[in-house]
Symmetry: C2
Subunit: 266 residues, 2 copies
């Protein structure tokens, strides 16, 4: 299968660099084809602006969504953007390797999303009419692909636990896993997480590597997070979750199927 | 009072630009001193790397946290970083004006956080020993300051409502409001939000402007979000919320005081 690794860390000799290298070698040994977008090595342009569109004139008023839509449609996007879109279309799974900085992606990776996830490509896809809000959340250009975050944290695991002071890791990653990855159609696997990585001792690498390899082996077989599909009958015409669904949950959790709901819906 | 506005939008003739201009004029008219960090106009460097530290040698192994800590301590940070820290220390309130892109900040603003919120300045502050995890979440360098997000969304309000398909706006902003702003000590006001801004008609500006001005008038008097303080007795030695607190809530909501808890705790 084809796997794209999007990797964002400034130091190759870091745990993130080691995990990326391990993913490349392990997936390749398993017979997969692997491509890597090493954003720091590529000197990826993080900031979305008029320079992303070949026909944009200096001084011309910029509405990013419209410029993105037009340039995606007529092939006048900056070539670095188009190249990443081509990689995403080639891939059958996308692995994101990054450190959690301020409870989100490093800016260089956020800038990859801001620029590559163009209008007409990752949003504004499908019919928007009446109660139909396009193809998103389970449908869209990237449907049929899998995605997984591999994230390192400086903090300790209990701080990210269900009642930990930082917030639960599922809540912190919801804007990425649901809002960035599920939105254009990808199935999202539970994240691979490594904690307290600033104090990692040499002997701690082995168990992390083994756990990561096990997750890589499940990239095409593990069950994805059961996010509700927008057009799967769960949301009403205003895109609000229908009464009776998400009982017993609140916050981001209501957007994941409860197991008993799945059973009762056959 | 002193107000810093951190503004991230590529087009001055946008709603974000208009809201930023309105904030400057309205706060100035009310007698406040206002400074603006216009990240696009400043051509702000979004990507955190070794270039952020004057003593970092090309090819030298980079551990960003340690390099940041050392450079903050000995005054060898990149001058653009130090200048923003000086503005934050000057400010008594910080207003962030940006469009919600992919359910988070534009990359240029995330890169402002990644670089300006240095080790020893915004994290790694205070004593870390035994069950004491430093000064964060309500304490720290920026304690005593207020912060407010002013965010524009292309999507409709119901999609961001408590049960809306995008996730509730409070959950989506939690990594920023709690993880970026409350972490180094700022008190965070509820966000100002404007929806469906891509389809804004001229006559819709007036009510938005009036609502925004009302929020600006409350910048120093409105009640902040009642996030629990890390060292306020709510969390145990592993930084997990103590049993009995956060009853009836789940997800990010457990980190906000319930009103009846406040009452019962005097």
């Amino acid at each position: 299968m084809n796997v794209l690794i999007v990797y964002a860390h400034p130091e190759p000799r870091s745990l993130n660099g080691a995990l990326k290298d391990l993913a490349v070698s392990h997936l390749t040994a398993r017979g997969h084809s692997v491509r890597v977008s090493d954003l720091y090595a590529m000197d990826w342009k993080a900031t979305a602006d008029g320079g992303d569109f070949l026909h944009h004139q200096a001084g011309e008023k910029l509405t990013y969504r419209l410029a993105s839509k037009g340039a995606f449609a007529d092939g006048s996007q900056s070539p670095d953007i188009a190249a990443e879109q081509e990689k995403l279309l080639w891939a059958q799974a996308v692995l994101f390797q990054f450190p959690l900085w301020w409870f989100s992606m490093p800016a260089i990776l956020k800038g990859w999303v801001d620029r590559v996830f163009a209008a007409g490509f990752a949003y504004g896809v499908g019919v928007h009419e009446g109660e139909r809000w396009g193809d998103r959340y389970g449908e869209g250009t990237l449907a049929g692909r899998r995605a997984m975050l591999s994230v390192t944290m400086g903090g300790r695991a209990p701080h990210y636990s269900e009642r930990g002071v930082n917030g639960a890791v599922d809540d912190l990653l919801f804007p990425i896993q649901h809002g960035v990855l599920f939105y254009p159609g990808m199935e999202v696997l539970p994240p691979f997480t490594a904690y307290q990585v600033d104090r990692l001792k040499a002997e701690e690498w082995h168990p992390i590597a083994e756990a990561f390899k096990a997750r890589l082996d499940g990239l095409f077989t593990d069950a994805p997070i059961a996010f509700r599909r927008q057009n799967g009958g769960h949301y009403d015409g205003q895109q609000v979750l229908k009464p009776g669904l998400g009982q017993g949950a609140s916050g981001t959790r209501i957007h994941v199927h409860a197991p008993d709901e799945l059973a009762s819906r056959g």
